[in-house]
């Protein structure tokens, strides 16, 4: 039996495993960063943590979608995924936008409410037309900007911190994962080989983020 036959015959099992593993990675990242945020009140750490909180909720919704076919869960899955991307980019941008202002709530403030609004509109439009393109385009744009910012951070760093290069590469891989998602959907109608590639790349990206978080915390 070939590898692809094995995947084809156990599609559902792989999907369950895929959702669980990414959900678990997000859970660990949230736990590790929450402690740092509680001590420091640093807004960047806060939005970084929130990004993985939303990604975790997205993959939890995805897990339940495997067992329950619910329009609400479909919208929720997209909404949380989009919010994850928005929060991740905001963790890089907050200093330029908010300055030193500390928001009392990172889940209920004016800018985040705008993100919620965009995420709801995107998820709802995709749901109405039964497509994913609005989400793909929004996330491709988000990760293009995130890649540019992380490259700029690396470039500006006088010590040429290698980790900033690593983070930039993680952002590029995330961008590639979204582009691959779009190609798999638009050109190949979710053909198994392409979906398999998307899953593998997504897992690599999340493992890289987890590795980065653990490495930085341990190194210190």
């Amino acid at each position: 039996m070939s590898f692809y036959e094995l995947i084809a015959q156990n599609k559902e099992l792989f999907r369950i495993f895929y959702s669980l593993i990414i959900g678990l990675i997000c859970f660990i990242i949230v736990l590790k960063t929450h402690r740092l945020f509680k001590l420091s009140d640093h807004q960047g750490i806060r939005y970084f943590r929130n990004a993985f909180f939303f990604y975790g909720l997205a993959f939890a919704s995805r897990y339940f979608l495997l067992f329950i076919s619910s329009p609400f869960l479909k919208i929720a899955f997209e909404f949380f995924l989009i919010m994850g991307g928005f929060s991740l980019i905001y963790s890089l941008l907050w200093k330029r936008l908010d300055g030193k202002k500390i928001n009392i709530s990172s889940l209920l403030n004016f800018r985040i409410l705008i993100f919620y609004l965009f995420a709801i509109i995107i998820a709802y439009l995709d749901f109405i037309w039964q497509i994913y393109y609005f989400m793909f385009f929004s996330q491709i744009i988000v990760f293009i900007v995130a890649s540019i910012i992380s490259y700029d951070n690396f470039n500006k760093n006088k010590n040429k911190n290698n980790f900033l290069k690593f983070y930039f590469i993680s952002m590029i891989l995330s961008l590639m994962a979204w582009i691959l998602n779009f190609i798999a959907c638009y050109f190949f109608n979710w053909r198994l080989r392409w979906v398999g590639g998307v899953y593998i790349l997504n897992v690599i990206v999340f493992v890289l983020f987890l590795y980065g978080v653990i490495k930085v915390i341990k190194k210190s």
């Binding site: 740092l36 001590l39 420091s40 983070y167 980065g212 930085v216």
Partner: protein, 91 residues
Amino acid sequence: MMGKKRERLEVIKDILEAIMKNREIKPTRLLYASNLSPQMFKGYVHELMSKEFIKLNIDNKDKKTFSLTDKGQEFLQEYRVIENFIDNFGL
């Protein structure tokens, strides 16, 4: 030449370190050690007390001193981790 403006977390670390070095420190001495304006100092002290990083002790002669709490010590221990995290992820 003017030094680089201290970030919020760096100021907090400096205040806590000044307290730790002296175990107990008078408010005026802490103000000098922190190198802040009185108004900013007041804001930081208020924040650190509300976060329970430091506590204000008043003895029977009405002498006031600041001392570090366990949470404040935990912050100092984790400061390097927090600083590295922010720098490495460009947050």
